[in-house]
């Protein structure tokens, strides 16, 4: 899926949303949102009142009823439009996904072997457990697992990344996704998903929001909003009785008209949040997709905002992928240059990242240029599991490098002795979290190369920001505790798990959860699957195995382990947007009361005009302004609903203060200004 | 759950009976015992007797109408003013025309009965109390009536003033409540004063 950042007001989406806004007026669609359904009823009622009015049974001036009725319909349309916009963005993405889900012909094998009988079938007919052969140039027909072969695959259809990736049988890169293209070589795969249930299908339905279920928080909010709606419904309907009493007790004025009661109700009911609620939810999922993360459910997105413990793999997430040489420490009576020279010679042909980093260090620090290994007559001795050393043989020189124990036994074999001084260097490097690599020539130890894990730039700062948000980070590594502790200190994680195995990873998560913590982790291997399944939020790498992907509730298409942090923020943003608009919506009510109440009861109690603190021009205009404001504010807040409230990495208290200030006080003040402004416009165009 | 509720039935009956005895019988009787022991006069209603017969309670106001007595506040009790079997206020609102009318009647009445007074009438003299049994008036309300009483009783105004001076109560501990004076007590002393001078 080629994820472009879509402009908020994409023309095509806009047009479709406009059309959908009207289509969504069907009662079947409206009844799903209790708050807006009451507005729907209100709109129908005012329309009916208008029809009565023009047939001569007017309870209020017909043009007034018409205007109120129209603006109530607009309120509904605006809310529908917001939802349609949010869905439209998802649909556009789904459209692109669908393109890659064409029907292909698959080469079905009778048994998992290259020379088995091939039957050509349509991909639709494949079922779980079938074996399929895919060759270079073929599109992978369905999700599955490689049983045999190694291929390079273009997965841009799913990830948007066109650089080919390697997939091979066994290990952690055995999963292939239907709809992706095999560029080279061949594979035999076992189908793991029935058609219609593939990863791509899931993505499409998620993006379209077709299977969107209400998340727990959304449900709780809906309950609160419904409760408020019921109360305001009663507040307004009892007003008729109150007005009736007041008119007879005071002996003047008329009982408040039904139109005004309905207008007040729609203004008081939390229509702003009610109208935008589903748009916010859809937009939240959409933001995950923009970040190239597929959420298996909305619940996962929400849970991401709640997590308070992040479990991160050391390699690739906290440190750059590999160890690098950082220092040469010579043995007694050896110059550092001599050590550097030997180290460089031994590594010239060493293509491992460690080896290359030694050459680079020698060049940068001691000006030793790279030499051509054949021109100096050297032969490279590669690393073997038996010797546990690598090195180079030059005429008259035999240079070896390796772990301290390996070199020690090598030196002993050669009749030399391993100096105590070097041993102490080795120990001190290890205690600082480095990996010591001893260099020897002949039976003499020249010194030690210090290899170190390089902590990613800026990661420590990132963790301290997370701490401010209340999220603890735990580093997981296969290193020994000493090394792990040193790196943990450098990266400033809160805790670490050394000598990690899938089993003790799972134990760690369970322990944290029993303490009441919500744990998030990333993983890619099959052996991560149990831990992923246990974690509250589990981000599976798209490059990972099928098992890992099934166990996770989020899939990161970029396979970027630091994505977890972004995921947390998107989750928080989703909740915050709901909270902000709820606060705003309810705070608005105060201004609306001040606009409508004096107008509604003015005929009975003119003195109530003291409450008309906005000095609205006429009673009609006051009520109309409030209704218009109530409708327009939905439109103005659509961008906020779709983009989400901006999240800052600060403590909860600061965040609360900022948001209460912006959306609470803003919600209190803005309607006063807005209603007054609309009143001025209405007055000046003479609609009174 | 059903068996639980059935089992609770036995408990609830016994709990209610036991606490009825404890808080409904033992507690009030014990308090009565202590109160009768420590404050016998007060716990029996602060009654004033004359020749062995009760003539009123110091805490319950009475309706005085003769010129020779200090008068208390208007009372809104139902059958007649200061009907202590039916304590009640007027419950009239400030915005009720009837209230203004009542107050105006009172003002006229006070002005007519105390022609010597031409100052402002103290508020308490023209408004009905909450209980309808308020035994007290403000010191200002008492002073307002001095000339009338002195005239009716043929006492000097100073004598009556002294009486008020003697009986007026300050705020308790200087901060609680309001300065005030007990009408019944004043009138008892007046009677006593008269019987002494006679």
């Amino acid at each position: 899926m080629a994820v472009k950042s879509r402009s908020l007001w994409d023309k095509k989406i806009f047009r479709i949303a406009l059309r959908d806004a009207f289509l969504k007026l069907s009662p079947l669609n409206q009844i799903r949102n209790p708050v807006m359904f009451t507005v729907y009823i209100a709109s129908l009622m005012t329309s009916w009142l208008f029809l009565r009015a023009i047939t001569g049974r007017a309870e209020a001036p017909p043009d007034f009823i018409l205007l109120i009725s129209l603006w109530l319909w607009f309120t509904l349309l605006f809310a529908n439009f917001a939802e349609a916009m949010a869905e439209g963005r998802g649909k556009a993405q789904a459209q692109e996904l669908r393109k890659s889900r064409h029907e292909v012909t698959a080469k079905k094998l009778s048994k998992p072997s290259r020379d088995a009988k091939i039957t050509k079938v349509m991909s639709e007919e494949l079922r779980i457990g079938d074996f399929v052969l895919v060759e270079a140039g073929d599109i992978i027909p369905c999700d599955g697992e490689i049983i045999e072969g190694i291929v390079s695959v273009n997965e841009s259809a799913v990830t948007g990344e066109s650089a080919p990736v390697i997939r091979e049988s066994g290990g952690d890169r055995s999963a292939v996704t239907g709809g992706t293209l095999v560029i080279s070589d061949w594979l035999i795969m076992r189908i793991t998903a029935d058609p219609g249930h593939t990863f791509l299908d899931k993505m499409i339905s998620l993006v379209e929001g077709a299977k969107r279920q209400k998340t727990p928080n959304e449900l709780a909010l809906t309950i609160l909003l419904s409760g408020l709606t019921i109360v305001f419904l009663l507040v307004c309907s009892t007003m008729v009785a109150f007005s009736f009493y007041s008119v007879s007790a005071n002996g003047s004025g008329q009982v408040i008209s039904l139109t005004v009661v309905i207008a007040l109700f729609v203004c008081l009911a939390p229509t702003t949040i009610g109208g935008l609620l589903s748009a916010i939810g859809i937009a939240g999922m959409d933001r995950m997709i923009q970040a190239n993360v597929i959420a298996q459910s909305g619940r996962a997105v929400e849970a991401a905002g709640d997590i308070d413990t992040l479990i991160l793999d050391k390699t690739g997430t906290i440190t750059l992928g590999n160890r690098q040489a950082t220092e040469f420490v010579p043995a007694e009576n050896i110059t550092v240059e001599a050590l550097a020279d030997a180290a460089q010679l031994s590594s010239l042909a060493d293509e491992t990242p460690e080896g290359r980093s030694i050459v680079i260090l020698a060049k940068e620090k001691y000006g030793l240029r790279g030499r051509n290994i054949s021109s100096i007559g050297a032969t490279f001795i590669p690393f073997t599991a038996q010797t546990r050393m690598s090195g180079a043989n030059l005429p008259g020189r035999q240079i070896r490098k390796g772990a301290a124990e390996a070199i020690e036994s090598y030196i002993n074999e050669q009749g030399g002795t391993f100096p105590l001084y070097v041993k102490s260097i080795v120990d001190s490097i290890a205690s600082r979290g480095g990996t010591p690599l001893v260099v020897a020539e002949g039976n003499k130890v020249l010194g030690v190369i210090c290899l170190k894990d390089i902590v990613k730039g800026g990661i420590a700062e990132r963790f301290s920001e997370l701490r401010k948000m209340g999220i603890r980070t735990i580093m997981v590594t296969g290193d020994n505790p000493k090394t792990a502790a040193a790196i943990a200190a450098e990266a400033r994680v809160d805790d670490f798990l050394a000598n990690a195995t899938p089993e003790n990873k799972l134990v760690l998560i369970r322990r944290l959860q029993s303490e009441g913590r919500l744990v998030a982790m990333t993983g890619d291997g099959t052996n991560d699957a149990p831990a992923l399944a246990q974690a509250d939020v589990a981000v599976a790498m798209n490059t990972g195995t099928q098992a890992a992907k099934e166990a996770g509730n989020l899939v990161d298409l970029d396979s970027n382990p630091t994505k977890l942090i972004e995921v947390v923020e998107i989750g928080k943003q989703l909740l915050m947007t709901r909270g902000a608009l709820t606060t705003f919506s309810i705070a608005n009510d105060i201004a609306k009361y001040f606009a409508i109440l004096p107008a509604a009861f003015a005929s009975t109690y003119p003195s109530l005009n003291a409450l008309n603190i906005m000095h609205l021009s006429t009673e009609r205009n006051a009520i109309l302004s409030a209704v218009i404001f109530n409708a327009l504010i939905i439109v103005f807040l659509i961008p906020l609903a779709l983009k989400g409230v901006k999240y800052h990495r600060v403590s909860a208290s600061k965040l609360l203060r900022n948001n209460v200030l912006i959306y609470g006080f803003g919600g209190l003040v803005i309607p006063f200004l807005g209603i007054k402004l609309i009143d001025l416009v209405l007055f000046s165009i003479g609609l009174n | 759950m059903v068996t639980f509720i059935v089992s609770q039935f036995k408990i609830v009956v016994r709990v209610v009976i036991l606490f009825s005895i404890l808080t409904g019988i033992i507690y009030p009787f014990v308090i009565t015992g202590i109160a009768q022991l420590l404050f016998p006069w007060r716990s029996n209603g602060s009654m004033i007797t004359h020749q062995g017969k009760p003539i009123g309670s110091l805490l319950i106001g009475q309706y005085f109408t003769q010129d020779k007595y200090f008068w208390g506040r208007p009372s809104a009790t139902s059958r007649f003013p200061y009907d202590s079997e039916y304590s009640s206020g007027s419950n009239l609102a400030l915005t009720n025309p009837l209230q203004i009318q009542h107050v105006k009647t009172q003002v006229d009445h006070w002005k007519a009965s105390n022609p010597e007074q031409n100052g402002l009438i103290p508020m308490d003299l023209v408004t009905a109390s909450a209980s309808g049994l308020d035994p007290e008036i403000s010191p200002a309300g008492a002073y307002y009536q001095v000339s009338r009483i002195a005239k009716a009783r043929k006492l000097s105004e100073t004598e009556v003033n002294n009486l008020i001076q003697r009986l007026r109560k300050k705020r308790t501990f200087l901060i609680f409540g309001e300065p005030r004076i007990n009408v019944f007590e004043l009138n008892l002393l007046l009677e006593h004063l008269n019987s002494k001078t006679e």
Partner: protein
């Protein structure tokens, strides 16, 4: 308003706040089952009660069991009180031979006292026997107060405990509330009140020969019949247990219920004492005293300004009076001389902030703003102090909603004191919070269009509307005070009132207990920097806003047509 009035009010508050800590701590010990100093004397009695009643002191109840025990005891209480009123003529201690109470009124009163409302459509001194007052009213004053406190204790345990479903034993909570808290305090207070002149005896009503007989049109009244009875013991618990049901018709305005400024002081303190102290108890029990102080401060944030408005308004002089030549600084209509204006105004705020409902002045004769304050205070749902126990558990419902909104605002599933607030809790809290506006609005609306409802009104215009609104706000919130000009002793008000009081009590109590039952099963989430702090001024502000929006905002139209417009008219606003 005189400077001395301010001194008095500040002194009251200081005394209450000074007592909050010791009493709050003591009550926490009582509910945590720890030794609290009185067990030496009361322990044997407590164990005797358990033995007599068959209460197993080791049994812990789930929320449903706790609830059914609670409901059963209240149901039995209603039946007992109803029966007592219907049979009083046949029972002893009825020296005035008062007749049996009518069925409607008896139902209303029985519900009223068992729900801790103490709305009184009857006049005590002219209808109830001493036995009914003692065995009925006094007993229910204890039981209903203890019920509220027990429920609160269960809810707090729901927050504190985790991974269990046991909330405690209702019978033990009830017994301990009465034995260790209500009874000792009542004994102290009733003796103090008796020293001030509150009567306490079993004599028949005393006839006093008047020295100045009253000459009426058709007869001359020569005697005054002075009521007697065991008053002090009942007044003490009525104030402490936020019951508020007076022995006499005019409640604490009666000289026998509240004879001196000192008794007035003691009773005001008693009104506020337990509801305020329970905040501290809460803090102690949840292991974070700041949480308790925060709630208390949030309450004061609303209470103090509103009490201030009442004091200000009642002390204003009125042109209508000054024109007549009256020395006027505020009206004394419906107020007692010894109590004065400011003490009446402050009491009106205190008695409606708590769900006490006793009065020392007639609220009906207050200025419009002076009636606005008590009505508004009730509209907050009786959670600013509120009833003993019920106020704080009501407040915790508000807090759950405030925490929910705040949680969303910081992007985290809301939690309170380590417990996650999920849809179930929200459903229950929403019911608990929103049922009150529904009952009050509906019953008010029915009353203002139904002839029996309208005819009961005692004052014309907007003030009459306020009377009806006040009545239903009082019954719907289990307060019990009234603007007494409304004649509520008719079948319509007594029957519907009984129903509204039942809904008002149990539709908050049941959801609160359900929430306790749900919270107690949850894990406790450790706090982190991402946790929303619920003891900060900011959260208190948010809580107050939520209370304002859920309570006051729903009643804005009704208040506008009652006290607000009445006050505006009084101020001489005449519109455009």
């Amino acid at each position: 308003m005189k400077a001395l009035d301010c001194v008095q009010i500040i002194f009251y508050l200081t005394v209450v706040l000074a007592l909050v800590k010791p009493l709050g701590w003591y009550m926490a010990r009582v509910y945590e089952g720890q030794s609290c100093g009185l067990d030496y004397f009361l322990g044997p009695l407590e164990r005797f009660i358990y033995r007599c009643c068959g209460v197993s002191s080791t049994e812990q109840m789930s929320w449903k069991k706790y609830l059914s025990a609670l409901l059963l005891s209240n149901l039995f209480g209603i039946l007992a009180l109803y029966t007592l009123q219907r049979l009083q003529i046949y029972l002893p201690l009825n020296p005035q031979s008062f007749q049996n109470i009518s069925s409607n009124l008896a139902f209303n009163t029985a519900v009223s006292f068992t729900t801790n409302t103490n709305w009184q459509a009857y006049s005590g001194e002219s209808s109830l026997s001493y036995l009914t007052q003692m065995l009925g009213m006094t007993v229910q004053n204890f039981l209903s107060a203890a019920t509220g406190m027990s429920l609160l204790a269960a809810l707090i345990r729901g927050i504190v405990r985790f991974d269990t479903d046991r909330l405690g034993n209702f019978w033990m909570d009830l017994t301990r509330s009465i034995l260790y808290i209500l009874l000792p305090l009542s004994i102290i207070l009733s003796i103090a009140l008796a020293s001030q002149g509150v009567i306490q005896n079993f004599k028949p009503y005393q006839s006093a020969s008047l020295i100045d007989p009253i000459v009426l049109e058709n007869k001359t009244v020569t005697t005054q019949k002075i009521p007697m009875g065991p008053v002090a013991s009942q007044v003490a618990i009525k104030q402490l247990g936020s019951n508020g049901g007076g022995y006499f018709n005019v409640n604490s305005a009666h000289p026998f219920e509240n004879p001196t400024p000192l008794s007035n002081f003691l009773e005001i303190i008693a009104i506020l004492l337990i509801p305020a102290s329970l905040c501290y108890t809460f803090g102690v029990m949840v292991g974070d005293k700041r949480q308790g102080w925060a709630i208390l401060l949030a309450m004061l944030m609303l209470f103090l300004p509103l009490a201030g408005i009442s004091l200000y308004s009642e002390n204003q002089s009125h042109a209508e009076y000054t024109q007549l030549g009256i020395e006027s600084s505020g009206s004394l209509e419906g107020k007692e001389t010894r109590i004065g204006i400011s003490n009446s105004a402050f009491w009106s705020a205190a008695t409606t902030a708590t769900s006490n409902g006793s009065v020392n002045s007639m609220h009906d004769s207050f200025t419009p703003l002076g009636t606005f304050v008590p009505i508004l205070l009730m509209h907050f749902g009786e959670v600013i102090f509120g009833g003993v126990g019920s106020g704080l558990y009501g407040m915790l419902m508000m807090i759950i909603i405030a925490v929910f909104v705040a949680g969303l605002l910081v992007g985290r599933t809301p939690e309170y004191l380590g417990k996650k607030i999920e849809p179930y809790e929200m459903k229950m809290a929403t019911v608990a919070v929103l049922v009150m506006p529904l009952t009050v609005l509906i019953s008010t609306a029915v009353s203002v269009i139904y002839s029996e409802g309208v005819h009961a009104v005692g004052n014309p215009g907007a003030h009459g509307f306020s009377e009806i609104l006040y009545a239903w706000s009082s019954m719907g919130n289990n307060n019990g005070s009234s603007m007494a000009g409304l004649n509520a002793n008719n079948p319509f008000y007594t029957t519907m009132g009984g129903i509204i009081m039942l809904i008002g009590r149990y539709w908050i109590a049941i959801p609160a207990l359900a929430i306790a039952g749900s919270l107690v099963k949850k894990k406790k989430i450790p706090t982190s920097a991402g946790t929303l702090l619920t003891h900060t001024p900011l959260f208190m502000f948010l809580l107050v806003s939520v209370m304002f929006i859920l309570g006051a905002l729903s009643f804005f139209p009704a208040l506008a047509l009652g006290p607000i417009v009445e006050q505006l008219n009084l101020w001489g606003f005449h519109g455009r």
